[in-house]
Amino acid sequence: MAGGHKHAAQANHHESPKMYINGYILSLVLTVAAFWLVLAHVMSTTPLVITILALATLQIFVQLFFFMHVKEGEGPNYHGMALILGAIFIITIVFGSIWIMSFNAQVQ
């Protein structure tokens, strides 16, 4: 009985540790790169902030595609739609707050 359900959470692709190891190495490289950029002061503040935020954003994709199996599952890509909607909300909340508060500082 349980055997019939075995495919519940799995896709048909072959599982190998290689993908997980690649994902792990990538996440370490991205973290060390951000850490080194900050400690070595190779850039001025604004490009440095943009670069380390870009490295952190790449980490999201490493986790999503190497570990979280975001592409798995049948039918319409509801995971993807939920994630894109979430991303729009997050960008609005974070950048909206920063933008509106910087305006407030100018008024004062």
Partner: protein, 208 residues
């Protein structure tokens, strides 16, 4: 007497329908968890926005640059990144049907999570003992709320993972435990992503 062909077909058909139904339900539960993760993203986005707006309001108290000790934070980061990897290996062993290795990797993951929480508590205790309490400045209120919320999530994950380990030991790998492990590991990877942003926005940008 005996069943007609139609009865057999309809019974067989019904059972297949039933199986598909269960299969769909497990898939729906995983999708439901993705939607929960998106809602949790909104919680963290709000806390990040609050922190970014308040980070310069130190009220004459200590700033991040004076408070943060990078060796501890770096150790926390590597513990969590490694635990994300080991929870991935746990899912891989689950799909291979190896319960012992699955539980083994979950134990490694939970221990790394425990190291992370331990280091964070140590950091908080040190900060508070230096007088940098949550009520000291807007910066510290935002800091403790943001980092503390993530720490609570990790702690909850530890209890959750431990409970699943007991279920795995008792019931083995079936459709239900499989879905539970998969969802707990999704949660764990999500916490790793949130930490990467905490590390970047709070600590790296803080010591710049």
């Amino acid at each position: 007497m005996s069943m007609t062909v139609n009865e057999v077909v309809s019974r067989f058909g019904d059972r297949r329908l039933h199986d598909d139904h269960d299969h769909d339900q497990e898939g729906m539960k995983i999708l439901g968890f993705w939607i929960f993760l998106v809602s949790d993203c909104l919680l963290f986005a709000s806390l990040f926005a609050t922190f970014l707006v308040l980070r310069t309001h130190i009220a004459g108290g200590p700033s991040g640059k004076e408070l943060f000790e990078m060796p501890g934070v770096t150790a926390e980061t590597f513990a969590l990144l490694t635990s994300s990897f080991t929870s991935g290996l746990a899912v891989m062993e689950m799909r291979r049907g190896n319960v012992k290795r699955l539980i083994g990797w979950l134990i490694v993951t939970a221990l790394l999570g425990l190291v992370f929480v331990g280091l964070e508590i140590d950091e908080f205790v040190k900060m508070v003992s230096e007088g940098a309490t949550i009520q000291h400045s807007a910066f510290l209120s935002a800091f403790f709320t943001l980092v503390g919320t993530h720490g609570c999530h990790v702690t909850l994950g530890l209890f959750w993972m431990t409970a699943i380990m007991f279920q795995l030991a008792r019931y083995g790998i079936n459709a239900v435990t499989q879905r539970k492990v998969f969802i707990a590991c999704l949660y764990w990877h999500f916490l790793d992503v949130v930490w990467v942003f905490l590390f970047t926005v709070v600590y790296l940008m803080g010591v710049m």
